[in-house]
């Protein structure tokens, strides 16, 4: 097996490709949500409560959108 094969299974590489390529299509994905997701999940050390924290931020976005505030 080559070193490239190992690299294939790196989470950081997978996420980089996702956030830099697959998820940048603004017609298909809400970019505000993509960015907030990246903020929580695309880092060297992910917070142990990243899932809950991301949900809170998403609910904040929903709240701002519901009240007509800038989000």
């Amino acid at each position: 097996m080559s070193e490239q094969s190992s690299e294939l299974f790196q989470a950081s590489e997978l996420l980089r490709k996702l956030f830099d390529e697959a998820l940048v299509d603004s017609n298909q994905f809400d970019q505000e949500i993509v960015q907030i997701t990246r903020l929580h999940l695309d880092s060297a050390s992910i917070h142990s409560k990243a899932g809950s924290n991301l949900a809170k931020d998403l609910l904040d976005i929903a709240e701002k959108r519901a009240t007509g505030g800038e989000s």
Binding site: F9, A11, V34, G51, I61
Partner: protein, 827 residues
């Protein structure tokens, strides 16, 4: 770039204290050196694996211990340091030196054992693991646990770790948490509460969020109170209806008797509220007046002899101007008067005149204070009269009576010409009564007034207004909640698209990994079970669901079954072992290091032998740190891999306050001589036996002597006799001269004359039992003499063998056989 472990140092970790924790590995002949350690149960073997696992783990976790606290049944991180480490001043730590086989660069990583949360992994480890993501520590109990016991999601997490994608598993877990949180962030419960409010405030007439229905109910409710106009004509919304009802209520309040009562009650409350300050003022002014009166009386008393002020003034003028020798009034000589002299008489007159002046001032202040008192009494009397009148209006007889009584007393005091001193008692009683009247009697009377007096007319309208306000509020709340709910669902749906994309990519990646491993898993399985039909292994992985399932099929892929129901314990373990080894082999080539901790417990002897072959062949080039409590497995591993880059150590004892005692399995001649001198026949005898086995094993391989140990199925049953016969048979086929030298030697005769070679072998009931140290010495000396027959007589080096030409030779090129008795010198 390939990293290997150069050395490992463990101290103060689990059962390892300050000895037997050093391992020199490195590489030899461009290959990494592996190590196998044999030791009985409870001698600290697993402590090595735990220490290494701790070193490599991200946050100092040893999986089978977990992160439990001090009370954890498992032990947790706090169980990692040796119990006596602190007491003995030994810092619990693990250190590993790595060496790069290409650049010869070295990395040194040290990790102190931390039992707290903050426990970062050394950066050097990150460097080494950067391109070797697969998990590299395997224990026996992990295998069955992985294949059978774990749930699909647990398997997925474990497998993610094995193939080095635990970060992705982590992210998938977070995605699920986020989506669950969003899903449960629904506002249905709050909306339901407000619907209950609507149902309650419409008296069960409306039970759904029906805006028109609610408005119709509110209009009908308003119509009950609005006489002059029809609400439909003027009000289109609930707030408008509320406004109409408020106006109507105000109108009724203005017109109703009840409303006047309310007003009067309010006025009485206000008047009563003003009286306490007047009462306090009364108390104050009375005190001041009384004081002024007392001062006046005192001054008057002191000036009692000075009432004839003008006369005394004239007398003073006379005395100052004429200086008479006798008193002008009584014609008494001055020396016989009370004052005693003319001068003293003048002084007395002056003092008296001052007293008269003081009296005048005090009298004036007394009048002023008395007027203040009178004014205060007048104000209080006025207030009491007003209270009296209002109480009469409200039909509060007790208040009327008391107010009237206090009014009478007040008037009496105003009209009284008595000294205040005489009125003190009356005043005290009066303002005490006033105080009680305003603070107790009036409030009680007001509180006891029937509520209907104030609200009986407007109460139904008020109830309707309250209902309409509650309905209006509920509608607004529900509309707000519905907007928020819609926004949350929109965000949830949009996040779902992002999450699905991440899962799709992760799914593809994990499926790729499984596809890469599947054929290797079956290959490994076949190596361990060569005579059986190899089941087709189905590894079902679904990253989207974080599921991993194992299924096997034997004849047709149409019928897949769970391994636990159809495979034996060892077969199940083999599946786990195959997956682990294939993942390490495939993904960790840049750091080919793995730890195998007692992995063969469930295998029989044949399968253990095949696992040895697997390690020797399939894992060739990998650096293995292996521990086992199975001596046969260990021995076989040694026989199979001794000529390779393997080290073999044996744990020969364990003391709690010292740790394991470890000895190298490579026995030297000097070591054996020392052991024989020590006199322990068991230890020395086993060392001799081991040396002999190793020597014959090597020589059989060198001379192409056929022995069962070459891939035979029962290698672990070999004895010294198994080497002895094939080796000598081979020797007989070599040079006749050499054959004669060997077979006529005294050493050969002694060794073969007795069954000593065979006796002290594995095949005996107790192969390690030696009768006496003298026997050991006898065998050892003869064996050494025997081995010298195979060395060059010129240079002393071991003779080499050319299998193609079937001849012996020595690299020194000189004659290597001993001088013959005849003229023949060499082949």
């Amino acid at each position: 770039m390939t990293w290997i472990v150069s050395s490992i140092s463990i101290s103060g970790v689990k059962g390892v204290l300050n000895r037997a924790g050093e391992f020199e590995l490195g590489y030899k002949k461009e290959k990494p050196v592996s190590i196998a350690i044999f030791g009985p149960n409870g001698c600290g073997k697993s402590g090595y694996a735990d220490a290494i696992e701790y070193m490599f783990s991200l946050d100092g976790e040893v999986k089978h211990l977990g992160k439990g606290g001090a009370d954890s049944e498992l032990g947790g991180k706090h169980a990692i340091p040796h119990v006596l480490a602190e007491e003995k001043g030994i810092a619990p730590e693990v250190s590993i030196e790595f060496i790069n086989t290409e650049t010869r660069d070295r990395l040194f990583a040290k990790r102190p054992i931390q039992t707290g949360r903050v426990d970062p992994r050394p950066g050097e480890i990150d460097t080494v693991l950067a391109q070797a993501p697969a998990y590299n520590i395997l224990r026996q109990h992990d295998l069955r646990h992985f294949v059978v016991d774990m749930s699909p999601s647990e398997k997925f997490s474990e497998f993610s770790q094995w193939i080095g994608i635990e970060d992705i598993d982590n992210i998938l877990t977070h995605l699920k948490t986020t989506q669950n949180t969003l899903k449960n962030a629904g506002l249905d419960r709050e909306i339901s509460e407000h619907l209950d409010s609507i149902r309650s405030h419409t008296l069960e007439a409306v039970s759904t969020f029906d805006l028109q229905g609610i408005l119709n109910w509110c209009t009908a409710e308003a119509e009950k109170h609005l006489e002059k106009f029809t609400p439909q004509d003027v009000a289109k919304t609930i707030p408008e209806l509320i406004e109409l009802l408020n106006k109507r209520r105000e109108e009724i309040v203005q017109q109703s008797k009840g409303a006047r009562a309310v007003q009067t009650k309010r006025q009485l409350g206000e008047k009563a509220g003003a009286l306490p300050s007047i009462i306090r003022k009364l108390e104050s002014t009375f005190s001041q007046s009384l004081k002024a009166e007392q001062d006046r009386d005192q001054a008057q008393s002191e000036a009692s002899q000075s009432v004839f002020r003008e006369v005394w003034q004239a007398a003073q003028d006379l005395l100052n101007s004429e200086k008479p020798k006798v008193c002008p009034v009584c014609q008494t000589p001055w020396e016989k008067t009370k004052v005693g002299s003319l001068d003293d008489a003048c002084v007395a007159l002056s003092v008296s005149l001052d007293e008269l002046a003081e009296f005048e001032a005090v009298s004036k202040r007394c009048l002023t204070e008395r007027k203040n008192l009178q004014d205060t009494l007048t104000a209080l009397d006025s207030g009491l009269l007003q209270v009296n009148q209002l109480a009469e209006t409200l039909s509060l007889p007790q208040v009327v009576s008391q107010a009237s009584q206090l009014h009478t007393t007040c008037e009496q005091m105003m009209k009284s010409d008595k000294n205040l001193q005489e009125l003190t008692s009356q005043f005290t009683n009066f303002y005490s009564s006033c105080d009680q009247f305003v603070h107790t009697q009036i409030p009680q009377a007001l509180d006891s007034m029937p509520e209907e007096v104030a609200s009986q007319v407007t109460l139904p309208i008020g109830t309707s207004i309250a209902n309409l306000q509650a309905l209006n509020e509920a509608i607004q709340k529900i509309e707000t909640l519905q907007r928020r709910e819609a926004a949350v669902r929109e965000v949830e749906q949009q996040f779902g698209q992002v999450a699905d994309e991440i899962r799709t990519q992760a799914k593809a990646l994990t499926e790729d990994a499984v596809a890469l491993l599947r054929s290797e898993v079956e290959y490994i399985y076949k190596q361990i079970y060569p005579d059986e039909a190899v089941p087709h292994v189905h590894i079902g992985i679904d990253a989207a669901k974080r599921d991993l399932t194992f299924r096997v099929s034997f004849h047709s892929d149409d019928r897949v079954v769970p391994p636990a129901g159809y495979l034996s314990e060892s077969q199940i373990n083999t599946l786990g072992l195959a997956l682990f080894l294939s993942a390490v082999r495939r993904f960790n080539k840049t750091f080919p290091f793995l730890v195998l901790d007692d992995i063969v417990s469930s295998y029989d002897a044949d399968n253990r032998a095949r696992i040895v072959d697997l390690l020797a062949e399939y894992m060739q080039g990998f650096q293995i740190f292996l521990t086992t409590h199975d001596e046969r497995f260990f021995t076989h591993l040694k026989q199979r891999l001794q000529s390779e880059n393997w080290r073999f150590d044996r744990i020969t004892g364990y003391e709690f306050d010292l740790g394991p005692r470890r000895e190298s399995e490579i026995v030297t001649c000097d070591e054996i001589s020392r052991l024989i001198n020590d006199g322990d026949s068991q230890i020395a005898g086993n060392a001799v036996r081991q040396y002999m086995e190793d020597w014959f094993d090597e020589m059989c391989a060198k001379y192409d002597a056929y022995t069962p140990h070459k891939r035979g199925p029962h290698d672990y049953q070999r004895t010294l006799f198994d080497y002895w016969e094939p080796f000598l048979t081979r020797v007989k086929t070599l040079n006749p001269r050499f054959k004669d030298i060997v077979f006529t030697s005294n050493a050969y005769k002694r060794l073969s004359a007795v069954s000593i070679i065979n006796y002290y072998s594995h095949y005996q009931a107790n192969p390690y039992a030696w009768p006496a140290i003298g026997d050991v010495k006898y065998v050892w000396e003869n064996f050494i003499e025997f081995t010298k027959l195979f060395c060059c007589c010129s240079c002393g080096k071991l003779l080499k063998f050319n299998s193609d030409k079937n001849r012996l030779y020595c690299i020194c090129g000189d004659a290597f056989f001993p001088p013959p008795a005849t003229s023949e010198s060499s082949d």
